[in-house]
């Protein structure tokens, strides 16, 4: 049988000389979910952007249903039934969902607005894709945005949907719902390319898997015939060492005390409604909660980036409530934020980013000391294996995983007492994630860690204690390690 899509010998050299793909062959069969697995920078996104007509291959051929194609734009790919949902979505934030659907559909074929909305409603109802058509996109959760994107693809009669790291921004519950939807659509003869670096998801959703490593296809398998360990080994070209957490000894004195903290987010919504917690020296305290439970505001207050409306923060017994970011850092707080757009100046170089937030320490008088900054950058990229071409290249040119390693690495390389790590392993491949987790555990010897993560396995594995937030309040506290996922998930949902 002719495969639905067949990509042969695809090579891609970017304008800056980066060789992203080296003769990759990839096939998608009718009605299958095909996982594209690989570390950060393996070339997954590049390969799929080529299929979607966003990039042109340097060499190689593409066939759709046996016909040779050379798309010059995504519109052309869409006319052939190919749609792609990007990692960061491509909806207009200030438009409503209906506006976005109309915009997308009419860029491919003319259709009246009423008809677009009618069909969206009908499709949504039939497939159980709940998206409020009249809501503005910027007000939607990540899960909703994704459903809107998928609905958009279906309205375009897509028979092939490419999902690029679809769960990276979703909460665990939303991720579960997505996998359900994929199975539903598969039954309707939609084929998927599921791009991911998460082994578990491959096992859960895919029929076949193609593993990319450093721009080359290192194998395509039936998922049922290959183990997670084998896939991990292929993906990184080596055995993965799992972090073995050593139980910490008896925790020391109280380092951080948060008392009755209340705060609003930028939109004025009350997010923290009186949170009290403490962290002792030598502890990793995990904060778990569905997105928007107040964890972000908590982290920002501790980093000096948000003023609480009420409550106290004490660090080592000293009241530090309402201090500036600079003062908090001087008091010993290290902060690796959830967003790389915040924790990095992406238009600036690796060197310049290596001293971000401690630029004063690398200046003598009014002039910057670039030698010492370079030294520091070198330490970070070596210890955290950041892949780069030049220390003075823009951080934006790095892949997401490398940006993450640079940002987390910078914080872990610094002197400090309390590390606030918000989604520290987001976008990292298995090996790097384990490396960062190991470093977080090691940080306990220097002070304490507040770990905020939506990866519940990670929270359970690393934390000595887990504080669960729900709608701005602490709804429970669990012991790390021995607690089970089930109980944690229930608490996160607000069930006591």
């Amino acid at each position: 049988m002719v495969p639905l899509v067949s990509m042969k010998g695809i090579t891609k050299v970017y304008a800056d000389g980066t060789v992203a793909l080296r003769g990759v062959t990839f096939e998608l069969a009718e009605g299958e979910v095909h996982a594209l697995l690989g570390e950060n920078g393996a070339g997954k996104t590049t390969l799929m952007r080529i299929l979607y007509g966003e990039l042109r291959p340097t060499a190689g051929e593409i066939f759709v249903r046996g016909q040779s194609v050379a798309f010059r734009s995504p519109q052309e790919a869409m006319r052939r039934g190919i749609a792609m949902v990007h990692q960061n979505f491509s909806l207009v934030p200030s438009f409503t969902v209906a506006d976005n659907l109309y915009l997308a559909v009419t860029s491919v074929k003319p259709m009246r607005r009423g008809e677009v909305e009618g069909r969206a409603r009908e499709l949504g109802a039939r497939l159980g894709i709940e998206v409020p058509l009249e809501a503005r996109v910027e007000q939607l959760s990540a899960g909703m945005k994704q459903r809107a994107e998928i609905l958009k693809s279906l309205l375009l009669d897509a028979k092939i949907i490419i999902l690029d790291e679809p769960t990276s921004l979703l909460t665990p519950l939303e991720a579960r719902a997505l996998l359900g939807l994929i199975k539903e659509l598969k039954a309707q003869q939609v084929s998927f390319v599921y791009v991911t670096h998460k082994l578990r998801e491959v096992k859960e959703v895919a029929d076949r898997v193609t593993v990319l490593r450093k721009g080359a296809n290192v194998g395509t398998f039936q998922v049922s015939e290959v183990s997670e360990a084998e896939m991990a080994k292929l993906m990184v070209g080596a055995e993965v060492e799992r972090v073995r957490r050593s139980r910490s000894g008896a925790p020391g004195e109280v380092l951080l005390e948060v008392e009755d903290l209340a705060a609003r987010d930028d939109m004025g919504v009350e997010r923290l409604k009186g949170v009290t917690l403490s962290v002792r020296r030598g502890e990793v305290v995990g904060i778990a909660g569905v997105q928007g439970s107040g964890q972000k505001e908590l982290a920002e207050i501790l980093a000096g980036l948000r003023r609480p409306e009420r409550g106290k923060v004490r660090l080592g017994g000293v009241d530090v409530t309402g201090r500036s970011p600079r003062e908090m850092r001087r008091a010993g707080v290290l902060y690796s934020p959830e967003s790389r757009e915040e924790g990095l100046a992406l238009e600036m170089s690796l060197v310049e980013n290596s001293v971000l937030a401690r630029q004063g320490e690398h200046a003598s008088g009014v002039t910057m000391n670039w030698k010492s900054a370079e030294e520091r950058a070198r330490q970070i990229v070596e210890r955290f294996r950041v892949v780069f071409t030049d220390l003075w290249e823009r951080a934006r040119n790095l892949s997401g995983g490398n940006q993450q390693r640079l940002m987390v690495g910078r914080e872990l390389e610094s002197e400090g007492l309390l590390l606030i790590a918000h989604e520290p392993t987001q976008g990292l491949d298995v090996v790097s994630a384990e490396k960062v987790r190991g470093e977080i555990l090691r940080f306990r010897e220097r002070g304490a860690v507040l770990l905020i993560s939506s990866d519940l396995d990670e929270v359970l594995e690393l934390s000595d204690r887990i504080v669960v937030l729900f709608e701005g309040r602490v709804v429970g506290e669990l012991k790390g390690g021995e607690s089970d996922l089930e109980r944690l998930a229930k608490l996160m949902g607000g069930a006591l």
């Binding site: 980036l305 500036s324 915040e342 971000l356 630029q359």
Partner: protein, 324 residues
């Protein structure tokens, strides 16, 4: 040469070809011979290098006036008004204090820039709108002063003569030195680092503990310092102001184009200022040789600026104004 520099160069070459094409079309449409016009424009302009240096010097500075705030993510459209104020201050203070008049021009520009910066930082007043309003206010203030208070005793349509003069080369070297200073400021000082972080992302600046208000006020003040000096140099070269404002009008605006063509880099600004200066001078020769009206020269220079700065300006817009 690095790949990036090579790319920038070939991009500029392409833009130049496009600019020549568009202006040729324009000349053809208006019934002039594009080949001889452009031949005169490109060659005669370079005939007198000293003249080029004199015209380029204020342009380098008015480009810096736009460029420094731009690196902090701010649009200082107020270079024009800062140049008027700098020119007036120089005219007035040079009578008694000679060379110090230049400093007075720069400082008054800095004061104006700093005020616009403070309005933005503390009251949230958009710097573009405030700049446009002060530009026009100062335009009429200058006209008023030239015709009422600083008026020449014999020629009522123009101002008294400046009290200090520097030669073309000295002016250009001064501008070059200030451009190098701007380069050092941006890339080798703590303040420059903070300016660039702010220009890269406001969130990252807050994260880094940078005092956003302080950097906003300082970068606008420094921009104003350059803008004021640009105006001072310009009036110094011409020797006086007159009620047509022809000596001064547009110095600040042209600086925006110069900065963009120079890809918001101080050295790029020096090169593009020299190039545009030679175009302006070449344009005057076209008027003399082929009898084209002076407005046509302005149009051609304008089209050149637009086409040459377009690739970079568009890239900047795409990135939402973010620079490193």
């Amino acid at each position: 040469m690095s790949g990036e520099a090579l790319r920038a160069l070939s991009e500029t070459a392409l833009a130049l070809a496009a600019a020549v094409f568009v202006t040729s079309l324009l000349l053809l449409l208006l019934g002039y011979d594009p080949v001889s016009s452009l031949a005169v424009m490109f060659t005669y302009g370079l005939g007198n290098v000293e003249y080029v240096a004199a015209v380029a010097a204020p342009l380098v500075l008015s480009a810096l006036a736009f460029l420094i705030p731009l690196r902090a993510g701010l649009f200082n459209i107020g270079g024009e008004g800062q140049a008027y104020l700098g020119a007036l201050s120089f005219l007035y203070f040079s009578q008694q204090f000679g060379a110090l008049g230049l400093l007075a021009g720069g400082l008054m520009g800095a004061l104006l820039g700093g005020t616009l910066g403070a309005l933005r930082a503390f009251l949230g007043v958009n710097e573009v709108i405030a700049s446009i309003m002060t530009n026009w206010t100062l335009y009429y203030v200058t006209l008023f002063l030239v015709s009422r208070h600083l008026t020449h005793p014999e020629f009522p349509h123009r101002s008294i003569d400046v009290g200090f003069f520097l030669g073309s080369w000295t002016s250009f070297l001064l501008a070059l030195a200030l451009a190098l200073l701007a380069l050092v400021l941006l890339y080798n000082t703590l303040l420059g680092y903070e300016i660039r972080v702010l220009g890269s992302s406001r969130r990252a600046a807050a994260y880094a503990g940078i005092d956003v208000r302080r950097v906003t006020v300082l970068s606008m003040s420094i921009g104003g310092l350059f803008g004021g000096t640009a105006g001072a140099l310009k009036v110094m070269y011409v020797g006086h102001l007159d009620t047509t404002m022809s000596a001064l009008f547009g110095v600040g605006f042209l600086g925006i184009g110069v900065a963009l063509i120079g890809k918001s880099h101080p050295i790029g600004a020096v090169l593009s200022a020299a190039f545009l200066a030679s175009m302006i001078i070449g344009g005057h020769w076209v008027e003399l040789r082929l009898g084209t009206p002076p407005e046509l020269t302005d149009v051609i220079v304008g089209v050149m600026v637009l086409v040459l700065s377009a690739p970079y300006a568009l890239k900047l817009l795409q990135r939402g104004g973010r620079l490193g």
